[in-house]
Each structure stands twice: as C-alpha cells, then as structure tokens.
Amino acid sequence: MTTPAAGPQEHRVRARRVIPGFGLGLGYTMLYLSLIVLIPLSATFIRSFDLGAGHFWTVVTTPRVEAALGLSFGAALIAAAINLPFGLLVAWVLARYEFPFKRLIDAVVDLPFALPTAVAGIALSTLYAPKGWFGRWLLPLHIKVAYTPLGIVIALLFIGLPFVVRTLQPVLEELDPEVEEAAATLGASAWQGFARVVLPALWPALLTGFALAFARGVGEYGSVIFIAGNRPMKSEIAPLLIVTKLEQYDYAGATAIAVVMLVISFALMLAINALQNRALSRPGTR
C-alpha cells in the first residue's frame, strides 16, 4: 500500500541479492507473531461463534454488561476529552518555553507509562479516599471521588495524559514560531494567533492523541479497579466484568464481552492509523 511507486520490483531484486536473511527474518517474524498474537486472538473470535448469534446478542445486551461497557467507554471518553486541553497545555509549555528543571518535568510526563498500573491504582485510591491527602479536602465540598465513576475518570486521566502530550509535543516543536510571529506583527492577538494559526495545524495530532488515550482507557484495568468501587451497574468496568465472569467459569459470557471490546478497539486502531497517514499526506505540515 505504501511501497514507493518508483520501481519496487527492481528494488526488491537488488536488495535480496545483496542483503541476506529476508526468508529467515520474515519466517521467524510471522511464526512468532502467529503463535503469540494471531492464533490466540483468532481463537477468541472462533470461541465466540460457538455461542451463536442469538445467544451472543443476549449476553452482550444484559443490563449489567451494557452498563459495564457503557461505563468503560463513557469514562474513557470523558477522561480523554479532559486530557486534551491539559495535555495541550503541558505539550505547549514543554515545546515552547524554557524554565528550570524542564528536562526533569519532561521525564515526569512519561511516569504513567513506567509506573505499574496496580501501583498507580492503589496510590490514586489512597489519595482520593475520604481520609486521603486529596479526599479529605474534597469531602467538605461533597465531592466523592474514590469508589465512584469519578474515580474511574481520575485514573484514566492519569493513564491517558502521556498519550496526548507525546503526540502533540513533536508537532508543536516542528511548527515554526515565526508563523505566529508573523500573525502577531499583522496585529493578531496571542490568542488569535493560537486559534487561527496553531490550532488548525494541530488538529490531526489532537485527534490522534485523543484516540490513543481513549483506546487505552477503554481497556484499562489495574489503575481503575482499586479506586472504582466495583459495584455492578454503577462502577463496574467491562474488563472487571470479564474477570468476574471468568471466576464464575462463565467463559462464554467473558468471551462475548471481550469480542465486543476487541472489535471496537481494532476499529479505533485502524482509524488512528488512517488519521496519521492522512495527516502525513497533508502538504506543508513539515
């Protein structure tokens, strides 16, 4: 699909003749990929066919499953939407300004990638519990975070932030500040310059960062279950319901939920790829 149009055939022949290892490399890659990823994943889809379409639909549309799927997707959507402006703020500050300890702060942005999700989960739960450092201040305001859907959003904010920042930051760095300066000399205010010059160039990256954070949030488990409260119909996320069904030996039910999540996640992933390729083919972004 993306092979260069100019003589791929002739290129391939030359490359094969000179550099060895194509057969071995591709063979091993495909073997390992099939054994670890492709066969297990297809097995899951095939197992779900055992259910039959009618039964599959019944499982997926039980109120408890619907509530869990709705919560997982809804909370991930809200968290990604909140992460968008704040991620943009952090990316902007890191890309454009100089300030003390910038390198350290830049490294901190990746903390959610590096910190195990279970550790993040118990830490957030402890922070926002009624007696925690944050919870104790939120309690008089009647804001309950721990053990409510709001807690789920907080956990997904934590998990999703680096996706937004790391997608926006390189684009902002590549964007020439001179264009904004030109806008400024033409009498545009800083905000006008940002809204009319920067934002239009940024939207593919914004959309990609949003989609990445959203996709990660939908499947997130470790950081959420400690703070969520996990009450069926109220604060039970879809991955947790899969675990619950497995513990009850309801493999069919667990598989049905998994298949719904997989289909949506793969669709999201393809959309993200398409988005990025489209952003690349836009002239003048580099």
């Binding site: 699909m1 092979t3 791929p8 391939r12 490359a15 000179v18 194509f22 490399g25 591709l26 091993y28 890659t29 390992y32 990929l33 670890i36 066969i39 297990p40 097995a43 899951t44 703020l89 952090v90 500050v93 890191l94 100089e98 390198r103 702060i105 490294a107 901190v108 942005v109 990638f113 590096a114 910190l115 195990p116 999700t117 279970a118 550790v119 118990i122 830490a123 907080i154 934590f158 997608t167 500040p177 300066e181 400024a184 800083a190 990609t208 939908v218 499947g219 997130e220 488990y221 991955p239 899969i242 675990v243 493999y251 998994a258 999540m261 997989l262 992933m269 393809l270 990025q276 390729n277």
Partner: protein, 292 residues
Amino acid sequence: MTGREAARPKHGSAGRRLLIAAALLFLGVFLVMPLLVVFSAALSKGVAAYAAAITDPLALSAVRLTLTVVAIAVPLNVVFGVAAAWTIAKFEFRGKSALLTLIDLPFAVSPVIAGLIFILLFGSSGWFGAFLQAHAIRIVFAVPGIVLATIFVTFPFVARELVPVMQAQGKDAEETALSLGASGWQTFWRITLPDIRWGLLYGVLLCNARAMGEFGAVSVVSGHIRGLTNTMPLHVEILYNEYNIAAAFAVASLLALLALATLAAKSMLEWREPQLGRHALRAPDRTRRGQA
C-alpha cells in the same frame, strides 16, 4: 533554538509564566502526588516495618517470580524485535504496512483480554485443555501462562523502537561489508548490531518496565497461588485487599523505584540519541517519510 528564543517578541511573558505554572500544577496534582503517596504510605509504619514487608518470604518469592518471568519474556521479544525490524527495514515486500499494524495489535488489546485468550486456549475447557490435562502439563494458573501473557502485552515494544532506527540506518554499510566478503551473520553482529545498540537498549528498557509491572493480563492467568504464581504487582494487590496497606505500598515502592530508574535511563538515552522515542506513538510510516 536559543537564537529563536532571543528573537521572539517579549510580550506576554506574564501569560507565559501563568501557562508554565498551570502546567506544573496540573502535572504536580495528577502525576507527582500519586508517586509521592506511594513512598509516604510505604514508610508510614516506620523503616523496620518497611524492611519486614519487603523481606517477607512471600514478597521475596514474588520478586523472584517477577524476575524469572522477565528473564524469559524480554529476551524472546528482543529476538523477535530484531528479526522483525531487520525484515521490515532492510527489505521491500508486499504487506509491509499490514505487518506493522499486526505487530502493534497487542497494544490495542485490554490486558484482561490478553489473559483471557490464553485461558481460552490452555484452560481446562480450552482448545488444548484436554490434551494438556492428559499429559499433566499446566500452563494456565502456573508460571508458563504468566510468561505467555507477559510476552503478549510486551510484544510490540522492541520491534517498534527498532524499526525506525534500522530504517534510518539504511543498508549501505551492510551492503559494503557483504561485498567485501563478510558473511550475513558477520555483517549483522559487526555492522548492524553495534549501530542499533542504543535503540535496542531503549526498547528493552520499555519492554522490561512493562513486563515487571504487568497486572491485568497476569492477574487473569495466575490463579493467585501465594508463593507460587504471585508476581510483585499481584502481591501488592493481595496485601492491599487485606488492608495491609503499609506492606502493600512497601512492595509497590520497589516497583515505583523501578519506574523512576526506567524514566532516568530513558531520558539519558533520549539525550544521547535525540531521535529515540520520538516516533513511539506514531505510525512508522512517518519516520520513513521523514528521512526520504
């Protein structure tokens, strides 16, 4: 960069300070505080209790299991990553971008589902369940299952770091070595590998951090048998659910230290090799176009 900095108009420096303050406040509240609470809670019952929690035999067996799993999963993914990157970067073939997408698949899968797929294959009612039972082989609810689930969730890390590095490297050096009579393996060990070592280290670092900290996938396949199939994150969960909060955070603090060490090493590598990690969240096509 500094030249540009100087040339930039000075207006709005108050706004600039406000934006920096807001960004730092946001990062402080949402990222740094959770990290601080880990260490604070870990030491809340004193240093002696902390030491007791991390030298507890069950904690030590969890550490041992986590290290064992990582020692198997990471090298396997490194071999795969190098093979995949070699194939993708050095050759043109049909379906290359489809292959890249397939390699990224595990990142789109919820950790819980990553565990579930191995239960469906190797569990007692799974495809190979009867066969495994007949031969008394345990995969699920045992160490092999934990290793498999860990390999699955860390599958793309090394490959997706190495593909752009090898693409940027081109193939002139290899072609020269080969034309001078070096064998394929000699070329790989003496030319390719030294050239990609920092990218490889970077990928290993990320792969290792995720492998040690994986929770959801491992939790599904582990069976939570104490002293036998409990990794460090699972041990943290059990202690926490037993209201043994200080001990849970003590073990968690070891994982948090690992995360900090990973971030430090990662920053140092990025400082040394600025192109590393810049592509981590983007389609690999971009880097290919970038060097064209």
